[in-house]
C-alpha cells in the first residue's frame, strides 16, 4: 500500500474543506453578526453542535441523509452517476459540517469586535455595505479569519469518526491518514501506524504553534 496516499488525501480533504468553509463561512459569520433575526440563537446552536456531538451521531444522520436509499443520495446518483456516500465528495460534505464551528466562531468573534465607530464613519462617508466590509471589517478581522482557517484545516485533518461512518476505509478514496492509522494497527503493523501518527502529531503541533505565533504578532502590531 502506498504510504503517502492517505496523507495526500488528508491534505486534499482539509484544503478543499477549508477553502469551502472560508468562502461560505465569511458571509455566514457576517450575517450572524449583523442580523436582527430573532431566532439567531437557534442558528448559532446548530452551528456549534459539532463541538459537542459524538462524531458517530453526525456520521449516522449524514449516512441516512446521503446514503444510497435516501432522497438526496438517489438524486445525487442520478445527476452525477455515482453515489455520494463513500466518495470524496461525501467526505467534503461531512467535514464541512464537522468543522463549521471551528471556522465560523473565530470569524464571527473577529467581525463583532470591529469598532462600530469605524463602520459608521465608513457609512457616513457614503460607502456601501460591501465596500465597508471589504475595506474595513475584513482587514481588521485578519487574525480571526486566519485562526478560523487554520483550526478548520487542523480539525478536518484529525477527523475520524465521521469519515469512518460515511466513507468507510476505501483505499485511495476515503482512507485518510487518521483512518490509515486504524487500518495499520489492525494489520498489526505498529511501525506504519506510528509513522502516520507521528506525522499528524507534529503537523498539528506546528499548525497550532503557527496560530499562536501569528496572533501574538498581530496583537503586537495593533
Amino acid at each position: 500500500m502506498n504510504f503517502a496516499a492517505p496523507l495526500l488525501l488528508s491534505l486534499k480533504l482539509s484544503s478543499v474543506t477549508t477553502l469551502l468553509l472560508l468562502v461560505l463561512g465569511v458571509p455566514f459569520a457576517y450575517w450572524l453578526v449583523f442580523t436582527r433575526f430573532r431566532w439567531k440563537f437557534l442558528v448559532e446552536s446548530v452551528v456549534a453542535l459539532p463541538l459537542v456531538l459524538p462524531p458517530t451521531v453526525l456520521g449516522f444522520y449524514l449516512l441516512m441523509v446521503i446514503g444510497a436509499n435516501s432522497f438526496i443520495g438517489q438524486w445525487y446518483e442520478t445527476i452525477f452517476n455515482k453515489p455520494l456516500a463513500f466518495s470524496f465528495q461525501g467526505l467534503v460534505l461531512g467535514s464541512f459540517l464537522y468543522s463549521l464551528p471551528f471556522a465560523v466562531q473565530p470569524i464571527q468573534t473577529a467581525f463583532s469586535s470591529v469598532d462600530k465607530k469605524l463602520l459608521e464613519a465608513s457609512w457616513s462617508l457614503g460607502r456601501s455595505n460591501v465596500y465597508t466590509f471589504f475595506r474595513v471589517i475584513l482587514p481588521l478581522s485578519r487574525h480571526g479569519i486566519i485562526t478560523g482557517c487554520v483550526l478548520s484545516f487542523a480539525h478536518t485533518l484529525g477527523e475520524f469518526g465521521v469519515i469512518l461512518m460515511i466513507g468507510g476505509n476505501v483505499p485511495g478514496i476515503t482512507r485518510v491518514a487518521s483512518v490509515a492509522i486504524y487500518d495499520e494497527v489492525q494489520s498489526l503493523n505498529y511501525g506504519g501506524a506510528n509513522m502516520y501518527a507521528a506525522i499528524l502529531l507534529s503537523f498539528s503541533f506546528i499548525i497550532l504553534a503557527a496560530v499562536f505565533f501569528i496572533n501574538r504578532r498581530f496583537v503586537r502590531t495593533l
Binding site: 468562502v23 436509499n69 460591501v130
Partner: protein, 268 residues
C-alpha cells in the same frame, strides 16, 4: 456587487475543483475483503499484479456485516469477499450484485490464540479460558462478524459461553480481535487460523485449532457487485484465485479450498 459575483464564482470553482479531482484510472479493482483475509489477500494481490501489471487492486478490510451495510449504502466496491454466505445472499436479494457470481472460495477455521508469554497450556484450553489466567478473552463481534459468530457457537458447544461471557471483549472485526490479543489487551482470543499463521502472529504466540464440529462451516463466499459487473480484470482476478497460485496462497494460510462449484450448483 462584483465581489459577491466573484465570491459565487470562487465557491463554484472550489466545488468543481474538489469534486473532480479523484479520477480513477481504467483498470482498478476495488475489493471489499473480510478481515480474516488481511494477509492472504495482500499476497494474492501482490502475485496477481506480478502477472497482470496493468491491473491495480485496492483492498479495504473490515467485518463482513459492516461491508454489507456499506455496500447497501452505495459503497463503490467491485467485488466482496465475505467471511460467510449470508451477507452475499442478502446483497443479492437487494439487487446489488451481478447475476450468478456467488462462489465459495475458501473454508475457514478458528483457533484459540495465546500470547507466547502466557503460562496457559493450549492443550488444556477449556480449563485455561475459565481460569483466572485469562481475565479477558477476545472474540469478534458476533453481531456482524462471521468469525465472531463461529466463536460464539463453539463456546456454546463446549458449554463455556456462560462461564466466559463476563470476560469477553469484542473486536469490531476479526483482525481487531487479533490485535487485542497480539497487543496483550486480552489474555486469549478466538481468531481466524489465517491470521494466526501469518508471519505477524506465528511466532508471537501459540494456538489451538478449535474443531470444526463445534461450529457451522465457515464457508466464505465472494460475490461480484453491480459496479464490477462484466469487468475483465475481475474475471482475471477470480481465475487467479481459483488457479494454482491463488489456491496455494489460500491453503498456506490454512484455508480449505472447496472443489470449484458455485452456490447455485450447490443448491440444485
Amino acid at each position: 456587487m462584483k465581489k459577491i459575483v466573484g465570491y459565487g464564482l470562487l465557491t463554484v470553482f472550489i466545488l468543481i475543483f474538489g469534486f473532480s479531482l479523484p479520477v480513477q484510472a481504467g483498470d482498478n479493482i476495488l475489493i471489499a475483503a473480510a478481515s480474516n483475509l488481511r494477509f492472504a489477500m495482500h499476497e494474492i494481490c501482490r502475485d496477481f499484479q506480478e502477472e497482470n501489471s496493468s491491473i491495480q487492486t485496492k483492498v479495504s478490510y473490515g467485518s463482513s456485516g459492516n461491508f454489507f451495510a456499506q455496500i447497501s449504502q452505495g459503497a463503490p466496491f467491485d467485488i466482496f469477499f465475505s467471511a460467510d454466505a449470508t451477507y452475499p445472499e442478502l446483497l443479492e436479494k437487494e439487487g446489488l450484485t451481478a447475476k450468478e457470481t456467488q462462489k465459495v472460495y475458501a473454508v475457514g477455521k478458528i483457533v484459540l490464540w495465546f500470547p507466547k508469554n502466557s503460562k496457559v497450556d493450549p492443550d488444556k484450553w477449556v480449563q485455561a479460558v475459565t481460569s483466572t489466567d485469562v481475565k479477558k478473552l477476545a472474540i469478534a463481534n458476533p453481531r456482524h462478524a462471521p468469525y465472531g459468530r463461529a466463536a460464539e457457537e463453539s463456546l456454546r458447544y463446549y458449554g463455556l459461553w456462560e462461564k466466559v461471557e463476563g470476560k469477553l471483549i469484542y473486536g469490531e472485526n476479526i483482525s481487531q480481535t487479533a490485535q487485542f490479543v497480539h497487543t496483550g489487551v486480552a489474555d486469549a482470543g478466538i481468531v481466524a487460523l489465517s491470521l494466526a499463521i501469518s508471519s505477524k502472529m506465528l511466532h508471537e504466540g501459540r494456538y489451538w485449532v478449535i474443531p470444526d464440529e463445534s461450529h457451522s462451516d465457515i464457508e466464505q463466499i465472494y460475490v461480484v457487485l453491480k459496479k464490477g459487473e462484466g469487468k475483465k480484470s475481475i474475471r482475471k482476478l477470480l481465475d487467479f484465485i481459483h488457479g494454482e497460485r491463488g489456491g496455494n496462497i489460500l491453503s498456506r494460510y490454512g484455508f480449505v479450498i472447496p472443489s470449484v462449484r458455485s452456490v447455485g450448483d450447490n443448491r440444485s
